[in-house]
């Protein structure tokens, strides 16, 4: 399965020997000569016993640094307290440093363990040679090689020089699950102490010598031109050095951040009038709704087998999903220093290679001339997969001929995002005379990402359209006739991946409509789902296989743990929803809500069950479930982004509201399915999609009002 060509790079590091094993994101990397050796991750064990793990994944709160280190430490039998982390930089030929799609656990699973196991085998061999015994007589623990018979010990650090001279073993054996010491153990986040002391270094905290600070007035809508501005007044602000006009807007550069902000205000740019057809989200929503009723590009089509009872009645509904901002608390920022054909960047990014490539392309230089240093990230959620803010910083630095930090204000961040795109969903289902679902149809009208251009030569087949409509074609229930389709609708504003990408809107529509059908059939919505999951245990659609048993199991767990059948009081409701994300992660939620007379919703409790494969760090899984639930509460009950005259209308957390402490429910997380799991799957995104429909269904249970549009406002329920 996994390529296992291996090598180590022998180095004579300053001050002593070390053992280094390199690998890229997919496999341990081999090279015939060190000059070909370009790892994006490597394990280095120094003479002092410090294990330095250099990783290419960006830490943005998902706990990736801790989880990857755990995988490595386990196979290496390392002393956890001696593990240090370093952040990789993209180099030419390294195209896989990106962090997104909840893929880091899968990416790291093979390579981290192989690197750890190879290094451990070499250390054992070195110790055994030293003692003139067989390696089989040795074992390792806590960064020490032990001789079983004599009790002799050698610390890893003492033998790295000898180990580094050995050939890298082919297929060093990996541990069996019952031998794991770190994997599956509750492990505190490796960056925790830095966070609570304020030492954590995020992009915004970085500095380089001679750096100017820039604040940028960006065009409010596509094509806006500056009509009038007061450069003299801006330049008169103390500390302002210059004003740079770029493709991205008017940048005011100053000696400190505040002077840049004041200078920008003094510049008082007046922009040209928007055209009459400038983007308007209300108009767009109508377009989406109309498009959702078209036939569209079919992404799945299954005919009812002969003998299926006819449909006695048809239920249909249209769901509307809005635009959202990512709104990480750390706004976009980037340090750039362009000197000749070279550029240095310090940037909180999920996509170091994309940043490197796009900045190089913009500057007309080669990627190897662009040095990208990745910092800790104060919230990514997909926004930092885009390179726009790095290209902008490079442009400003080049024009200003100075190192510069561009810091986005909160309104800049809110108005110039790569938004979660709106969508509309038409659903219809046929019920037979007994209330059984005999046909299902779900058409999504949405928009392709415009993070980077889509190749016109792209084959736009069924599979391609499926790629834009997760949560639609992967309908997990057993229904005789199924048709799903996707209708692309042009969207002229920037939009891109957001936590769980295309799924949240689709799963909101699907899981709410399932609830509508349960209600129409007079069935309990949880029992109704379990019933609809009876049939073939697995099915394959697109690239993934889906396992209904695992989805049933998480539903059964939340049924039991939430005491599902319990009677609840007036204006109190319980709702359920579930989802399989990417064929890998199975999650069910039971949500309790109270809706008061004024229509205010309070989510009181959420019981979650998750089967995400092998759990590396239970704390990490819990945190992602909790975070995904809070994220969903924000999108169900908080703000949305609307557009008028081509511009986003919201600008802060006051008008794009997000969940606060008072909105946080009690959360219970139950992890199941771990016992037979072969490998881990990432948990950043999967918790998001099913939470909003579970809330919507709980609101229906409390009020009898069906939610078909987000976000939910008190007016909808009063």
């Amino acid at each position: 399965m996994i390529a296992t060509r291996r090598t180590f790079l022998k180095t004579t590091a300053l001050g002593g020997a070390s053992l280094i094993i390199g690998f890229n994101g997919k496999r341990i990397f081999a090279a015939d000569s060190p000059s070909e050796f370009k790892p994006n991750g490597w394990v280095k064990i120094g003479e002092d016993g410090t294990v330095t793990l250099t990783i290419g994944k960006s830490e943005m709160g998902q706990g990736v640094r801790t989880a990857l280190a755990m995988m490595l430490a386990d196979e290496l039998d390392a002393d956890w307290s001696r593990i240090k982390l370093a952040q990789a930089k993209p180099g030419p030929g390294y195209e896989d440093l990106g962090t997104g799609g909840s893929g880091s656990m899968e990416d790291g699973w093979a390579t981290m363990r192989q690197a750890g196991a190879a290094a451990r085998a070499m250390l054992i061999t070195a110790a055994a040679e030293h003692w003139k015994i067989s390696p089989n007589e040795c074992k390792t623990e806590q960064s020490v090689v032990l001789h079983n018979g004599s009790g002799r010990k050698l610390e890893f650090g003492a033998i790295v020089g000898d180990a580094a001279k050995l050939p890298v073993p082919k297929d060093a054996p990996l541990k069996k699950p019952n031998e794991y010491k770190f994997i599956g153990r509750r492990t505190a986040k490796i960056d925790g102490p830095d966070v609570v002391t304020g030492r954590g270094r995020y992009g915004i905290d970085a500095k380089i010598s001679g750096m100017l600070h820039a604040s940028v007035e960006r065009p409010p809508f596509k094509g806006a031109q500056p009509k009038k501005m007061d450069e003299e007044k801006a330049l008169a602000v103390r500390g302002v050095r210059s004003i740079v006009r770029t493709d991205h807007g008017m940048a005011v550069l100053a000696e400190n951040t505040w002077a840049a902000i004041k200078g920008r205000a003094a510049l008082a740019v007046e922009w040209s009038e928007p055209p009459s057809d400038a983007f308007d989200s209300e108009v767009h929503a109508k377009k989406l709704e109309a498009a959702a009723h078209e036939r569209g590009n079919v992404t799945r089509h299954e005919e009812a087998p002969a003998g299926t009872p006819p449909s006695a009645r048809t239920i249909e509904a249209t769901y509307s999903y809005p635009f959202y901002a990512h709104a990480p608390v750390e706004t976009m920022n980037c340090i750039a220093h362009v000197e000749g054909d070279r550029c240095k960047l310090i940037v909180p990014t999920q996509a170091p290679n994309r940043v490197q490539k796009q900045v190089a392309q913009f500057l007309g230089t080669s990627p190897d001339k662009v040095d990208v240093e990745v910092t800790l990230i104060g919230g990514g959620f997909g926004r930092r997969l885009s390179a726009d803010y790095a290209v902008e910083a490079a442009e400003i630095s080049r024009a200003a001929k100075a190192p510069v930090q561009v810091l986005w204000s909160r309104p800049d961040d809110m108005k110039h995002g790569h938004f979660q795109a709106a969508s509309a969903h038409y659903l219809s289902a046929g019920l037979d005379s007994l209330g059984k679902v005999v046909s299902w149809k779900h058409t999504k009208a949405g928009s392709f990402h415009n993070l980077s251009a889509i190749d016109e030569k792209e084959t736009r087949n069924e599979d391609w359209y499926r790629g834009w409509s997760w949560g639609v074609y992967d309908f997990p229930y057993v229904v005789p006739a199924i048709q799903t389709a996707y209708v692309p609708v042009d969207l002229p504003i920037k939009h891109g991946p957001w936590r769980a990408v295309f799924s949240p809107g689709s799963v909101f529509a699907r899981e709410t409509f399932i609830d509508e059908l349960a209600h129409e059939s007079g069935a309990d919505p949880l029992a109704f789902r379990l019933e609809l999951l009876q049939g073939p245990e697995t099915f394959k659609i697109g690239r993934d296989t889906y396992d209904r048993r695992r989805l049933r199991r998480v539903l059964e767990v939340v049924r039991e743990k939430s005491d599902w059948g319990k009677k609840v009081g007036a204006r109190h409701g319980r709702g359920v929803a579930c989802n399989i994300y990417d064929g890998r992660n199975h999650i069910a939620y039971v949500v309790d809500v109270d809706v008061n007379e004024a229509g205010h919703v309070r989510v009181g409790r959420v019981v979650a069950a998750v089967d995400c494969g092998l759990v590396i760090n239970p704390i990490g899984v819990e945190q992602q479930i909790e975070g995904g639930i809070i994220w969903g509460i924000s999108s169900a009950l908080g703000g949305q982004i609307t557009f008028k005259n081509g511009a986003a209308q919201q600008s802060t957390f006051a008008d794009f509201t997000v969940a606060r402490m008072k909105d946080a429910p009690e959360i219970e997380v139950h992890m199941v399915g771990n016992e037979n799991a072969k490998q881990p799957f990432g948990m950043g995104e999967p918790p998001v999609p099913p939470i909003v429909p579970a809330i919507a269904n709980a609101i229906f249970a409390a009020t009898g009002k069906r939610i078909r549009k987000l976000p939910i406002t008190p007016n909808d329920l009063a």
Binding site: G192, N256, W258, P328, E330, L376, I630, R660, M661, K662
Partner: protein, 159 residues
Amino acid sequence: MTMSNITLTVNGSTREVDVDDDMPLVWILRDTLALTGTKFGCGVGVCGSCTVLEKGNAIRSCQIPAHEAKDRSFLTIEGLSRDGNHPCQRAWLEEDVAQCGFCQPGMILTACSLLRDQPNPSDESIDAAMSDSVCRCGTYPRMRKAIKRAAAAMQKPAG
């Protein structure tokens, strides 16, 4: 805009800075004094990332211009404890609160202020004190537990 040399005390050290009268304290701390533990999140006092303490009270450093910060004394996350061993910092680690961590210095200092006023806060008091701050990662349930843990630790007699 007038500029001036103002004197203020940060984490026990008296500092003289030459800044514009209207420069908010958050930028004095971050840009002038290189104390980057205090974060910038919104600039308009609605997110809480820039929270610092003054006489134990949580205040938003983006809302205090230099001329008002003059001659006052502030505590930032860097000054909360010598080794990260303040009960709130310890509780934050023990409850594994942080995800991205960016908002957490402000959250910890807000919690310190709450616990100064109410050594044994109810859920309602925690909601009231903490709900002016934003954590986009959604660490609220763990913060709630950490605040209660810190409260318990602070009530134990020293030693």
